[in-house]
Each structure stands twice: as structure tokens, then as C-alpha cells.
């Protein structure tokens, strides 16, 4: 069976974008009981709207209820779970086995998926969590491809595997670096990413770190395009993309790339070609440097980022399509600096990337040479049909 492609969304617009570009399911956070407090801006009505939209595309909505709650955090949980079930949410993602059992009992229409924060790395642990009503396990990021293969054959539990995005360098649910450094609890959505800070390293009182390249635990992001064919053969149920804080453009590029890759492999197309195509597509996303995580080996120095501060954000994404007009012009929402005569790509769901040269641009009917006010609406001419919500970026190499 073809695996599910599971995408993150920080708001309703991003949820819809992910679904339009081919995500089979989207996970998002509500206002409460979820990590990534800033990314979690879904009111219940937004969740209901996301579910309604997803149904049109035969997709599903999952909600993260993945905080590791203290007693003081638990108030209102039952009401919230019932409300999620009523919204038509297909599953909740939890890090608490109490919440897992409770949800199964009072809101049985929702599946319970166990978060990677529990760091499950073997089939015996998976067997243990069955008794808590868990329907799917998100494996720890620390498992190798070979281990995934044996876990998958030893367990009938549906498995979810991270395939793309940021990685905790530590066993995620057990990291209190942020608690120590900033009094912010990673398990309650407050992670300050203290692992990515810079540290001096001493051995017996003598500094052994390089002052020009201090010690850091910053992990490169995960990129698993090479591993997709194997993971598909292993019968993994769901491929998860990380990044509820990521932009709509990032979600678009990443979902589009993996959607096309999974479909190509499913249809028996040449794997190498499909992977290379996906790699080129992904290079256009705002990726930090990437690695294959634990899939093939224990991560070494090349899996880490040292002496880097920037996120390596590209400026390639320039606009969104708003609407097309009978006069042949298209209104676009400007997101980055854009001069005329630029060669551009259009990303539309289900289509290959289409390119054109921007010949002219109009502000309220007046021709202009360059767009440099983000969020301004301008008109342009595009020599083929586009849809509202399509993405425009500088042409890929």
C-alpha cells in the first residue's frame, strides 16, 4: 500500500496548501496541549474548516496533543478531546500515555498516534504501548533503515517515520537543556533550541575547543529522498515532514517533491531519476544543510552544523497567485524583490513546474520595473493557466 504523506501546517492557509499539493494528511496544533506554542494557532473553528477542506481532497487532519502535561496543564483536556472528535479530526498525536488512554475511552472515533518524544526504538516497546490504545507509533529518529525493517517485520503496529526537516540532536522527550538555560520546558512547547547554541569545551580545566568554531550540538536537517524506495518496500504507513513553523512556500516545495517521488516509485518509474528530480525540487526550499540522520550510520561530524548561525533561507520564492482576470492579467501577492525580465517558475498542484519570463508588471495599471514592497498586490501576464494559491519563484537551475 502506498504510504501516507504527512505534512505540517502552522495555520489554515498552510494546511490547505499542503493538501492541494498532495499531502494525504496534515498535522497541526491547537491552542492548548500542543508543543510549538508559536506554531500552534488553530482555533477549533480553524480545525473544523481544515477537516472540511481535507475531506474534499480525501485527506485527513491530525492534531498534536503532544505536550507532556504537568497536573496544572490538564484542565479542560476532556472537553478539548471531545471537541476535536466532533470536528472530525482523524487522529491525535500524543506524548502522554494517559492522554492516549483517555482519548480512546471518551473520543474513540479518533486514532491515537504516539509521538516520537517517547523515543520508541524497538518492537517490544511498541508491544507495550498497545495496551494504552495506541493505533500508530512515530518511531524515534535514532533508528536506522535496517532497524526499521526488523521493527516493521516484528510488529503489526502501523509505523510513522520522519523523512524531512529539523531534528532534535537529543532523545527528544528527554531533553531539558532549555529548562536549565531558559526555564522553558521543551516538553511543554518552550524549547529554546539550546542545543544549537555555542559552547566552550574543557578537558581537565584546559579549553580544547577551537575559539573560531565552538562546540555545538546543532544537527543538520533530515533529507530522506534516497531512503524513500526502501521505506516504501518496508511497508511504513506514514512519511512525516517536520516543520509546523515553516513557511507556506517551504511546505509547497517539500510536499510537492515527496508527492511526486512517492507516486513515481509507486508507478514503477526509474528510482534514480525520480530521486534526482526530487533532489532538484527540494534544493529550492528554504532548507538548512541536510543529512540522512541515523538511516545509514550513526551521525558523524558531517551530520552536524558547526560555526553556522544563518538558516540559509533562499530568496527564490517571489509571489503567490491571487486571481486571474478576464483581460489575461493575473494578480499576485509579492513576497520578495522581483524585477521584470526575471525568469520564473510556477508551482501548481499536480502539475510539473512551468516556466516563463516576466515581461511586464503593473501597479494599478501603471507599468513598473521592479516590485520591492512585500505583500503588495501587482498584476502580471502569465502565458498559461494558473490557479489562486499557486506559487511563483525564480527559475530553478
Amino acid at each position: 500500500m502506498k504510504p501516507e504523506l504527512l505534512a505540517p501546517a502552522g495555520d489554515l492557509a498552510r494546511a490547505k496548501t499542503a493538501i492541494r499539493f498532495g499531502a494525504d494528511a496534515v498535522y497541526l496544533g491547537g491552542k492548548r496541549f500542543s508543543l510549538r506554542s508559536r506554531a500552534s494557532n488553530f482555533e477549533l473553528e480553524d480545525i473544523a474548516e481544515a477537516v472540511r477542506f481535507a475531506k474534499e481532497y480525501d485527506a485527513k487532519i491530525y492534531v498534536t496533543v503532544n505536550m507532556v502535561p504537568h497536573d496544572e496543564d490538564l484542565q479542560g483536556l476532556e472537553v478539548y478531546l471531545l471537541a476535536l472528535e466532533k470536528c472530525g479530526v482523524a487522529a491525535i498525536i500524543v506524548a502522554s500515555l494517559h492522554i492516549a488512554l483517555l482519548s480512546k475511552k471518551i473520543a474513540p472515533a479518533m486514532e491515537v498516534h504516539l509521538s516520537t518524544q517517547l523515543s520508541l526504538t524497538n518492537s517490544a516497546a511498541i508491544e507495550t504501548v498497545r495496551r494504552f490504545g495506541v493505533d500508530r507509533v512515530v518511531l524515534a529518529r535514532e533508528v536506522s533503515l535496517a532497524q526499521i525493517e526488523t521493527i516493521s517485520s516484528a510488529s503489526s503496529m502501523p509505523l510513522e517515520v520522519f523523512i524531512h526537516g529539523g531534528m532534535c540532536v537529543n532523545l527528544s522527550g528527554r531533553c531539558t537543556l532549555s529548562n536549565e538555560m531558559t526555564l522553558r520546558d521543551a516538553n511543554r512547547g518552550g524549547c529554546a533550541q539550546s542545543c544549537r547554541w555555542k559552547y566552550k569545551l574543557y578537558r581537565d580545566q584546559t579549553e580544547i575547543s577551537d575559539p573560531n568554531c565552538l562546540f555545538s550540538m546543532s544537527s543538520k536537517d533530515l533529507l530522506a529522498i534516497e531512503e524513500i524506495p526502501t521505506l516504501m518496500k518496508q511497508g511504513i504507513s506514514s512519511f512525516k515532514i517536520e516543520g509546523r513553523m515553516k513557511s507556506a512556500y517551504y511546505i509547497t516545495v517539500v510536499v510537492d517533491a515527496y508527492r511526486k517521488l512517492i507516486d513515481a516509485i509507486d508507478q514503477g518509474e526509474d528510482e534514480k531519476e525520480a530521486i534526482e528530480k526530487a533532489r532538484k525540487m527540494l534544493m529550492k526550499a528554504e532548507n538548512r544543510p541536510t543529512s540522512d540522520g541515523f538511516f545509514r550510520t550513526i551521525p558523524g561530524a558531517t551530520h552536524h552544523l558547526y560555526g553556522v548561525n544563518g538558516e540559509g533561507i533562499t530568496q527564490d520564492f517571489v509571489a503567490n497567485v491571487i486571481e486571474t482576470h478576464p483581460n489575461g492579467r493575473t494578480s499576485i501577492l509579492i513576497r520578495n524583490n522581483l524585477p521584470v525580465h526575471t525568469e520564473l517558475d510556477v508551482l501548481s498542484p499536480g502539475n510539473d513546474v512551468r516556466s516563463f519570463t516576466l515581461e511586464a508588471m503593473y501597479r494599478k495599471g501603471e507599468a513598473i520595473e521592479v516590485a520591492n514592497l512585500p505583500m503588495e498586490v501587482l498584476d502580471i501576464e502569465i502565458p498559461f493557466r494558473v490557479e489562486s494559491g499557486d506559487f511563483i519563484r525564480k527559475k530553478g537551475s
Binding site: 506554542s37 507532556v68 502535561p69 504537568h70 497536573d71 506524548a95 494517559h98 488512554l101 517517547l118 520508541l120 526504538t121 524497538n122 517490544a124 516497546a125 507495550t128 504501548v129 494504552f132 533508528v143 532497524q147 526488523t150 540532536v169 537529543n170 532523545l171 522527550g173 528527554r174 531533553c175 531539558t176 537543556l177 529548562n179 531558559t182 526555564l183 522553558r184 520546558d185 516538553n187 511543554r188 512547547g189 518552550g190 529554546a192 539550546s194 542545543c195 555555542k198 559552547y199 566552550k200 569545551l201 574543557y202 578537558r203 580544547i208 577551537d210 568554531c213 562546540f215 555545538s216 550540538m217 541515523f294 550513526i298 551521525p299 558523524g300 561530524a301 551530520h303 552536524h304 558547526y306
Partner: protein, 291 residues
């Protein structure tokens, strides 16, 4: 309330017993980290000596298991059960299933160091295959007392030692030494400290075969709160010895034993400058927005 301690060496057992320890906790080769490791023969020797001293023995199976370690872990459980070990402290939920499969008589203590942060969570575990739990280290004293009070004689707490802050399955120090082209052997042993560039603290960092752990710089010590924990039906307090100077662990057990018998001593006066109350009086519920 029982006093448990990591066993630094077999020779150390008598001193711990004399100090008032009720149970000793042993690291075992292949399944533990951060603790001194013992092989099965040594474990047998410890169990026999502990029995004659009237002390319980627990295995500290704190490594998360890889799939290929499941069968060896099952064999280990069967073996230690036959040796007369009293129980295991574990982080990996696999041990619940493995103990059931082995029909072992071991007391099962789920000690994930985080995760167990609420009373319902603890109760859920106790109703599903776990005999005791050790609650998360980042709880306040009030939270610990509430959870322990609601689950009497079932809850253990970390009582003494450097609190671990993070565990990675990556060789973080060796990787860094590779990056700056220094000798990897500098990563070995107990001599390493990390200092965040804007902070004064020196965090001990320990790199072992499969795990790298970073600890708080100060020693957590539960002595001032011990009688409150006792009054609230805490089941046990565990003392650790990693990065702890020789003699201090035994002194802690001795002092804890005294305090539980309402006898005064001067441990806190002697060590006030190096110990801390951890998160007991420090909530860590701030968010990115700072509220």
C-alpha cells in the same frame, strides 16, 4: 521511604550498608550507561553479598534498546531473575513486555527521567504493568508531593547527584573533535566540561559507547526536603554517583538515614556551596512569548 544508591564498586557495598542504604542499583554491561558496569558474574557476587547484608538489588537498565537488543534483553531478565535480583529500573517501555514474557518476579520501576510529570500519567503506568515509577527530574517539590501523595508508596525520586540535562545517541564530542581535527581520545573519561559561551556554569559531559549525556553543573540534593517526601509517602530516593567526588555519596546516604530517624547532622553545612535544590523551587513553564 527507602534509600537506594548506585554501586560505584563491589568494595563500596559495606560502606553503603553501614551508612544505611536499603537497596543498591547496578549498571549492567550492554544495557546501562552513566553507571559503573558489572558483568553477570559480578552481579551474582553482589546479589549474594547484598542478601547477606539485608540489602535489595536493582539493575539500572537505562539504555533505550535497539531492535537487535531485544532478545539479549529478554535473556538478561531471565538470568537476573534467576540470580535473585529484586528489580529493574528502566527507561525503555520494552522492559514491561519483556518482564511479562519472562514471567519474571522482578519489581518493575519505570524511570524515564522525563515524561512522568503528572499524577494521572503515573497512575496510568501503575495500572498497566509497572510496579513503581521515578518521576521526572524537572518537577517542583509541590508537584512531587502531590503525585506521591496521590500514588502512595509507588513513587520514587532522584535524590542526589548531577541531574542529567540531555542524552544523545550521537558521539557529540568525538564528532566535534573530528571537525576541529583534534584527537578523538580527548572525548574519553570523566574530565570533560561544557560552558555555554554566555554562562559561567561548567556542565559535565560524558561520552560513552552509544550515548552522550550532559549534566547540570551543581549537585542536586534532596536532604532539606527529605522529611516532607517521607511524610508524603514517597517510596524511595535514588542517589547517583556520576561525577560525584569519592565519599560524598556515602555521606549523603548516611545523612539521609539520620534525617529519616530525626537525627541531626552537618552534611548540608559541609556541602552547602556545591548542592542545589534543582527544579524543586523553580518552575520551568515559561514559553517563547515569556509568559
Amino acid at each position: 521511604m527507602r534509600l537506594l544508591s548506585i554501586l560505584r564498586s563491589i568494595e563500596h557495598m559495606q560502606a553503603l550498608k553501614d551508612a544505611g542504604v536499603d537497596g543498591i542499583v547496578l549498571g549492567v554491561e550492554g544495557f546501562s550507561y552513566r553507571s559503573p558496569l558489572y558483568d553477570l558474574e559480578q552481579i551474582k557476587e553482589v546479589v549474594d553479598r547484598a542478601k547477606s547484608l539485608g540489602v535489595s538489588t536493582y539493575l539500572h537498565c537505562n539504555r533505550m534498546l535497539d531492535e537487535e537488543e531485544i532478545i539479549p534483553a529478554l535473556t538478561l531478565i531471565q538470568t537476573i531473575d534467576a540470580l535473585g535480583v529484586d528489580g529493574i529500573l528502566f527507561q525503555d517501555l520494552a522492559y514491561v513486555t519483556l518482564c511479562e514474557q519472562a514471567k519474571a518476579n522482578l519489581v518493575r520501576i519505570y524511570a524515564p527521567e522525563a515524561i512522568l510529570t503528572s499524577s494521572p500519567e503515573v497512575r496510568t503506568m501503575l495500572e498497566n504493568g509497572v510496579d513503581h515509577v521515578m518521576v521526572a527530574k524537572e518537577l517542583t517539590l509541590d508537584e512531587v508531593l502531590k503525585i506521591a501523595g496521590e500514588n502512595p508508596k509507588k513513587v520514587g525520586v532522584f535524590g542526589f547527584g548531577h541531574l542529567p540535562m540531555s542524552v544523545s545517541r550521537r558521539p557529540l564530542v568525538k564528532n566535534y573533535l573530528d571537525e576541529i581535527k583534534k584527537d578523538r581520545s580527548l572525548a574519553d573519561g570523566f574530565g570533560l566540561r561544557l560552558q555555554e559561551e554566555k554562562r559561567a556554569f561548567l556542565y559535565p559531559i560524558l561520552e560513552e559507547d552509544k550515548e552522550t549525556t550532559i549534566f547540570q553543573d551543581r549537585l542536586f540534593c534532596v536532604l532539606p526536603e527529605l522529611t516532607k517526601l517521607q511524610a508524603n509517602d514517597v517510596a524511595f530516593v535514588l542517589a547517583d554517583d556520576v561525577f560525584v567526588e569519592e565519599g560524598m555519596l556515602t555521606a549523603f546516604i548516611h545523612s539521609a538515614h539520620n534525617r529519616m530517624a530525626q537525627r541531626e547532622d552537618d552534611f548540608m553545612e559541609r556541602y552547602a556551596h556545591v548542592v542545589t535544590s534543582g527544579y524543586f523551587y523553580k518552575k520551568t513553564n515559561l514559553t517563547k512569548e515569556g509568559n
